[in-house]
């Protein structure tokens, strides 16, 4: 009995050491990014490497701002990501609700068709989409970045799976209480789906926040650049602005941390919900 608890304790100790090592390995580059953002580029490759942050952050930021108007890019990224997330949440939850709770002709084939689009790589879609946007005259617009991806197949799939867990009697009961079909959606289905919506919103937001290839093609005006595009600008043919890149990336990952840390409980709940029958 005693030896068993000892082995158990040893195992636990071992696994903590293992996890701690991984955490350190993950944190080192992040920490280096923060340090590197505060030192001049000349010290960038010094040996031994700097571990104490310097005082150059503001100067680096100013250079960045003059170089690529980074504040504007942050604004663009926030506007695009937030409006994309909201629009996509609405569309995905509505489609998911319909697929989960209504019967209509071609429901199954339509759903599998939507699922099938998940395997299409973005590279295939970019040229036709670009041509389409040129024809409509939307190039260089927020709309061109937001709209084509708003009905997200993964989002529709996730919402459909989760909405299936809503008992039919709940909706029927609301129907008898006098709710319209739309009220069923936004008064009953949506509120009970909050954790799943939160989880989905993280996925959608991050997708759009780090989107590179499509925005690169569709947004040509530097005033419209999102953060990933501005970052790419810093890697020139002649020179790479490491100091500015570090300032920019440290700013770029902040919202990801904020979003994930505030929503992570929902994220985990949302991913797990519906997996087990309760």
């Amino acid at each position: 009995m005693r030896s068993e608890t000892r082995t158990e304790a040893l195992w636990q100790f071992g696994s903590y050491i293992f996890l701690l090592t991984i955490v350190v390995l993950v944190l080192i580059p992040l920490y280096w990014m923060l340090v590197a953002a505060t030192i001049p580029q000349s010290e960038f490759f010094s040996w031994p490497p700097r571990v104490i942050p310097g005082t150059q952050w503001f100067a680096n930021f100013q250079a960045l701002q003059e170089n690529v108007n980074f504040v504007r890019s942050i604004g663009n990224s926030i506007f695009i990501s937030v409006s994309y997330t909201i629009l996509s949440l609405i569309l995905c939850s509505m489609a998911g609700f319909a697929f989960a709770k209504y019967e209509f002709t071609f429901k199954e084939p339509l759903f599998y068709f939507i699922l099938a689009t998940l395997v299409l790589p973005i590279q295939i879609l970019i040229i036709p989409l670009f041509l389409l946007m040129v024809q409509i005259g939307w190039t260089n617009s927020y709309l061109a970045v937001i709209l084509p991806w708003a009905a997200n197949p993964l989002g529709i799939f996730l919402m459909r799976q989760n909405m299936k867990a809503i008992p039919d009697s709940l909706l029927e009961s609301a129907r008898m209480d006098g709710a319209t079909e739309f009220q069923l959606y936004y008064k009953i289905a949506l509120p009970t789906m909050l954790p799943s919506l939160a989880a989905l919103s993280i996925i959608l937001f991050l997708n759009q926040w780090q989107a590179f290839l499509y925005p690169l093609v569709i947004l040509q005006d530097p005033q419209m650049y999102t953060i990933p595009l501005a970052l790419a600008e810093l890697v020139g043919q002649q020179r790479v602005y490491f100091d500015q890149i570090m300032v920019a990336t440290s700013l770029a990952v902040t919202p990801i941390f904020v979003v994930f840390l505030t929503m992570q409980q929902y994220f985990i709940k949302g991913i797990l919900s519906g997996s087990v029958k309760q």
């Binding site: 009697s169 709940l170 129907r175 008898m176 209480d177 009970t192």
Partner: protein
């Protein structure tokens, strides 16, 4: 309050070869203010019928009228019907107060103060005022049940529909809620259709009982009618607990000959005239232990219930159940003889299962007469 007329209602699911007929040619009138119970084994179409009345299922054929107004094609939300579901279907994200007030906020133009007042009235009627600010998941099954009732009552609907509302409660709570529900329905006087698979619940609660089987209405009547005068063998065996004993006997003039040495001479052979065979039914509570009865049997199991004993016995190949006094406890393996009164005998047609003879014993005994008689 409304009278519900269901005429030739049919409901089929699926189409073509895979069509399943859930309800077939169902005609019934539920009187204004009546408490009518649909009862039957699972899959008999009782819930489907209820859902057709609610408007949650479209009728394949036939019509449903509320007070003469055809509602067959009306949507559920336009019918002014409230329903209590088996799993209560409370909105998990709303407090009890919001749950009960939900139908009012949707269907009326009352101010939120008026709605709140109404919700509190209903809550105090059901004794759940202190729960108003809790969420459904914090409540016990019985409390959830009350909230579901409250949500149905608060609208003051024309019709109440209840789909096995007590089946998720434990036995003790179920019998308390049964009484409460009945009292509530009497106070409110709302026409109520209630679905259950439990014949005891049906007998105890319904003004009338509608017995269903295989999508067809078998019989509608009061508890005493369906118990004493079932229209066919199915109703006789479904109503009554323990279930009626039945077996096939040959007819020889006025003598019935059955398996395992069953022999009974009918005083009135009218019902079996011209028949070769007949199905015999005797209720466990009508069987008596006798020295020379017509049913020689062997005891297999005795269940002591305290107030009475259930005796399981074999008469040849036929399994019998008898309800006997608690002071009698014969042992397993013992040979016993059962007898019964002809008044209590049921006879059914072998082919159609229709009743040929049902109970004819007295039912209307005056109180004075009863207490003076020697018991």
């Amino acid at each position: 309050m409304a009278t519900i007329d269901i005429t030739n209602l049919c409901k089929a699911f699926g189409d073509g070869d895979e069509q399943v007929i859930a309800v077939e040619d169902f005609t019934l009138t539920i009187e204004d203010g009546e408490f009518l119970v649909f009862v039957g084994p699972s899959g008999c179409g009782k819930t489907t019928t209820l859902r057709c009345i609610a408007g949650l299922e479209d009728a394949t054929d036939g019509s449903i009228e509320f007070d003469g107004l055809d509602v067959t094609d009306q949507r559920a939300r336009d019918r002014d019907v409230a329903m209590v579901f088996q799993n209560y279907a409370l909105y998990p994200h709303m407090t009890v107060r919001k749950n009960i007030g939900f139908p009012l906020r949707l269907s009326t133009r009352q101010s939120s103060d008026e709605i709140d007042a109404q919700v509190e009235d209903v809550a105090s009627m059901l004794g759940i005022v202190e729960l108003l600010d809790q969420k459904p998941k914090e409540l016990s099954g019985g409390q959830q049940q009350r909230v579901a009732l409250g949500r149905a009552i608060v609208r003051d609907p024309e019709v109440f529909l209840m789909d096995e509302p007590l089946s998720n409660l434990d036995a003790k709570l179920r019998s308390t809620m049964r009484t409460e529900l009945q009292e509530l329905q009497q106070d409110l006087g709302v026409t109520t259709a209630y679905v259950t698979h439990d014949q005891t619940e049906a007998m105890a609660m319904g003004d009338r009982i509608a017995v269903l089987n295989d999508g067809q209405l078998q019989q509608v009547g009061t508890a005493s009618e369906v118990y004493r005068s079932p229209t066919n063998e199915f109703v006789a065996s479904f109503i009554g607990s323990p279930s009626i004993n039945t077996f096939t006997a040959t007819v020889d003039g006025n003598v019935l000959d059955g398996p395992g040495g069953f022999e009974y001479e009918l005083a009135n052979s009218g019902p079996v005239d011209g028949l070769d065979e007949v199905r015999v039914g005797i209720r466990p509570e009508d069987m008596t232990l006798e020295s020379e009865g017509s049913m020689p049997s062997h005891v297999t199991v005795v269940e002591e219930m305290g107030n009475e004993n259930f005796l399981y016995a074999e008469m040849g190949p036929v399994d019998l159940t008898a309800r006997i006094e608690s002071k009698m406890h014969p042992e397993a393996g013992m040979a016993v003889d059962f007898g019964f009164e002809e008044d209590d005998l049921y006879l059914f047609d072998v082919n159609s299962s229709e009743s040929l003879k049902t109970k004819t014993s007295e039912t209307d005994v005056e109180y004075e007469e009863y207490v003076q008689a020697d018991h």
